[in-house]
Subunit: 202 residues, 2 copies
DNA sequence: CGTCGTTACTTAACGCCGTTAACAAGACCA
DNA sequence: TGGTCTTGTTAACGGCGTTAAGTAACGACG
């Protein structure tokens, strides 16, 4: 069992090491050569497992999307009956993920479109499953008459945009330092819910 | 009068050329050497006018902030009496600026924090003046009883985050292609207003 | 046993990058 | 006239992503 690192193991090692370096040193500091040095191989070895640097990051993005989806599903499962409470939990889960995994979040959502050119379309579609969870809550809410939306697809993206804006501004430290993170988050969620639930009085 | 390009002129030429290259080729394609080639000087000449690449971009950021502020001020002046209409116009102006100047917007708000480390604090403060225009509308609205906000500073950032999220997702082409830009924008503005103006029925 | 192809990995190199050091030519001024 | 400041240059450093070429170990097969 305790054989030498096999091919698949090395791929796994590259991914794990890259993720750790990403969290510790940040995206800007990451290079193929540094990853290679960290795992004790030459830089060109990485190219045996990933077509190029973008492909390596795409694999990490996919993992990040899966993690996010898992957290959203968990929030969803906690409020099966109440779409408003569910939407609120989803908003909290999204923001929480973004703030707790800033480096993950950066490559997942801030990586420049130029790096995404080679990103396969089917993975883009899988990433959209995260939004489906939010839209499902919206649809439930509309059907139960507690939410209003002329187009749930559009409203879902609007909600996503609001959450993404808050996360990315906070992570980039662009928000007025006199504002506590939790206040901005709480108010963002409140705004978001108020935007969908006309009857809400909070 | 038609002398050789003076020192200040070359600085201006560098800034203008960089801005044009930025719009034409994008941020990722930009290098000191390419800028130098475009203006017909050696790369090291740029360092006579800007401490480094970041400083050059900081100067562009400042110009962009001034342009954005001018557009916001214009929207503000168009609705002196009605804070709700003013806030709506401000939201539209912000989004419009972001979508019409994607490369400007990128360096202004998407440039990685690492590049901003040397960004002087006073310029950060000047950048915040853009938000002051929004907050002024909020304060007016609250005073007139047509808006509600427990903390206008927090609410201002929440609004900003929602607008920024929409702009950056649209510019990054991350929004579902079946959603028209103008629909997302309209719904974002509507959500934003509904979040602040409890009496609004639209 | 020997050879052959495959796999896993290396070193060397290419052409970029931001940035610095060293130097040259003209302007200005004592 | 001579010295210094300004404005520009070329050459170089170390780093980057990536590719080309080579090597060493290994399993299969005659």
């Amino acid at each position: 069992m305790a054989e030498r690192t096999s091919s698949a193991d090395l791929r796994r090692l590259i991914l794990d090491t890259t993720r750790h370096l990403l969290v510790e040193k940040g995206y800007a500091d990451l290079s193929m050569r540094k990853i290679a040095k960290a795992i004790g191989y030459s830089a060109t070895s990485i190219y045996l497992h990933f077509e190029n640097k973008d492909a390596l990051f795409h694999a990490l993005i996919e993992e990040g999307m899966e993690r996010l989806l898992a957290e959203l599903k968990q929030a969803e499962a906690a409020h099966p009956g109440d779409p408003v409470a569910r939407l609120e939990a989803l908003c909290q889960a999204y923001v929480h993920f973004g703030l707790e995994n800033p480096e993950y979040y950066e490559i997942m959502l801030l990586l420049h479109p130029a790096h995404m050119a080679r990103y396969p379309a089917d993975k883009f579609r899988r990433a959209r499953r995260n939004l489906d969870v939010i839209e499902a809550a919206l649809i439930d809410g509309v059907n139960q008459g507690v939410m209003q939306a002329t187009n749930t697809r559009v409203s879902t993206s609007v909600i996503w945009a609001a959450l993404h804006g808050a996360v990315s501004l906070l992570n980039a430290k662009r928000v007025d330092i006199r504002i506590a993170h939790k206040d901005l988050i709480a108010e963002t969620v409140r705004h978001t819910l108020r935007g969908c639930c006309p009857s809400l009085e909070r």
